[in-house]
């Protein structure tokens, strides 16, 4: 369980997160939704220690994250940012092998390579594994980075807009993989996502943010509700049930 308690974050006196408290359940997919600038990505980067909070506490299984050693945290929690430009020329397999760094400190043992192989298989990248990242499409790159996170084998997996720049097919593919990671491997996945229909269909819990504050958090079905979404996005959103999925219609 991850507990965020009364966290505040400011950039040069501009408050981007204001007294935010959120509880994230273990073994579930939790989506952060909200308009641009609502503070979703900032909250994710605070939980993953990429950024430092100004006030409040963030506890991971009861331990404050700023008290934990960075090397130990890397075995518990992993983060994938939305833009992953890498200056080094790497093959998929080399990239994925970096996921084992917290365990091997760069000297991979046979069991580390097993994790690497497993992660590559999981993301169906076997055929591409010796290709260089710069020769791949956006979707393939994204899968490679997710494979790296899988190889890192952390209890908590944080992803900042994993569907950014992906087409429908690849978006569905990625979301299905995340769902499987939760259902089959027992991971806890936290994502920042813009497409509320993906959030509705694939996540267990949703946290809705607006202007640096939590509007509402709870099971997906409770948040995907016309009145809640009106508060979050400031627009009227009609909700239809199609094949037991709550789908938001907001295009017209």
């Amino acid at each position: 369980m991850i507990e965020v308690k009364n966290v505040t974050k400011r950039y040069n006196n501009k408050t981007v997160l204001d007294d935010v408290s959120v509880t994230i359940r273990k073994g579930k997919i939790t989506s952060f939704i909200g308009a641009n600038g609502a503070g979703k990505s900032t909250l994710l980067s605070l939980i993953s220690r990429l950024n430092k909070k100004d006030e409040g506490d963030i506890l991971i299984e009861g331990d404050p994250i700023d008290k934990c050693k960075s090397g130990d945290l890397a075995k518990k929690i992993s983060i994938l940012k939305q833009s992953n430009h890498i200056n080094v020329r790497l093959t998929i397999r080399e990239l994925v092998s970096f996921g084992r760094f917290p365990y091997s400190q760069g000297k991979l043992k046979p069991e580390d390579w097993e994790y690497v192989d497993e992660a590559i298989r999981y993301m169906e990248l076997e055929d591409l594994q010796h290709q260089y990242l710069d020769q791949l499409s956006g979707g393939q790159q994204q899968r490679a980075f997710i494979a790296m996170v899988i190889a890192q084998n952390t209890e908590y997996v944080l992803l900042d807009e994993p569907l950014n720049n992906l087409d429908m097919k690849h978006s569905v593919q990625i979301m299905k993989v995340l769902r499987r990671m939760v259902d089959e491997l027992g991971k806890t996945v936290i994502i920042v996502i813009h497409d509320i229909n993906f959030a509705s269909v694939y996540s267990d819990d949703i946290v809705a943010l607006k202007n640096g504050r939590v509007v509402k958090e709870g099971p997906a079905a409770e948040i995907i509700d016309s009145s809640v979404l009106k508060q979050v996005y400031g627009m009227d959103i009609q909700i239809e049930t199609i094949n037991d999925h709550r789908i938001c219609v907001y295009f017209a």
Partner: protein, 314 residues
């Protein structure tokens, strides 16, 4: 990968052998001692420059930067010019090489420490901010040096000008020993951080995600870079362009992301470049030019080639 390293090592050793043995004329104990000293100086400065450049480029995630952007070379030149300006070239000679060396290293060390202290005091400071400040300080030091150079006697300026170019022609033995001890100490201190280099090359966010205590590790690495650059500059003069050259050749030649190969490769290349350059200076140009000039010429041509190749491929 190991084959490539062995290949480089063989070339380096061959050049060292040629350098040691060519035209010795029978006075073995004299010649070997004199040349051995030069070879040693070239190995340690070459190694230090190559090493610190690769580390610096990895930290900054930029392959066209050299540590000279932090302004250490300029500070060294400012100090030398200042001494000549105040005390004259006679004063510089009277001070002795040892004292000059120690003050220069001390000054550069102090400058980097104060620089880093000020900078890292504020949390979340961007590394590019540090580089920008370094650039500004470097320019300031350079302008001050130029100002004094214009004012001094042309003969005295000759002395200053000599200092601007790296030279291995008269390296002091005591300084050499001292430098080796200092550099070896630094290398041992640094060795436990080398494993982080591959991960840091992926960028800050990835490094943090993979459990690297980024701020702490980068700070230590920058200190090591500053120490190595200070020592080699004070020993032979400003020669950081060499680092840019050999680091990039090493990336191209080794074709790997693994830093222990990249670093070893660049160090060997650096030794090869210095040995080959010095041989040219001594045997072909018979001391009518300096090593820096040859390295800058070769390096400049190589960079033009790189630029042309890049623009063709894109």
């Amino acid at each position: 990968m190991k084959k490539k390293l062995i290949f480089l090592a063989v070339i380096a050793l061959a050049l060292i052998a040629v350098f040691m043995l060519i035209q010795a004329g029978g006075h073995w104990d004299y010649v070997l001692k004199l040349r051995g000293k030069k070879v040693l100086a070239m190995i340690i400065t070459g190694g230090a420059i190559a090493f610190s450049t690769v580390v610096f480029q990895t930290i900054t995630n930029n392959r066209i930067l050299t540590p000279s952007i932090m302004g250490l070379d300029s500070l060294y030149m400012l100090f030398q010019t200042f001494m000549v300006y105040i005390f004259g070239s006679a004063g510089l000679t009277a001070m002795g090489k040892n004292v000059n060396f120690i003050i220069s290293v001390g000054l550069m060390g102090l400058f980097s420490m104060v620089f880093y202290k000020l900078l890292f005091k504020r949390e979340g400071q961007n590394i590019y901010f540090l580089l920008l400040l370094g650039l500004i300080f470097g320019t300031l030091f350079q302008s001050l040096s130029t100002f004094m150079e214009v004012l001094i006697d042309p003969n005295e300026f000759q002395i200053v000008q000599d200092k601007m170019f790296a030279s291995f022609n008269n390296v002091n033995t005591e300084l050499l020993v001292l430098s080796i001890v200092l550099m070896a100490g630094t290398a041992i201190y640094f060795s436990r951080y080398t494993k982080y280099l591959d991960v840091i090359a992926l960028g800050k966010d990835q490094a943090v995600n993979l459990g690297v205590d980024y701020d702490k590790v980068v700070k230590r690495m920058l200190v090591v870079v500053a120490i190595l650059i200070s020592i080699s500059t004070a020993l032979v003069g400003p020669i950081t362009f060499l680092g840019l050259l050999v680091a990039n050749i090493s990336y191209q030649f080794m074709k790997t992301y693994k830093h222990h190969f990249l670093i070893l490769g660049s160090m060997l290349l650096s030794i090869i470049a210095l040995m080959g350059g010095q041989l040219l200076v001594e045997r072909v140009f018979t001391f009518s030019t300096t090593l820096s000039v040859i390295i800058n010429l070769a390096g400049g041509i190589y960079f033009l080639y790189l630029l042309l190749k890049e623009s063709k491929s894109s």
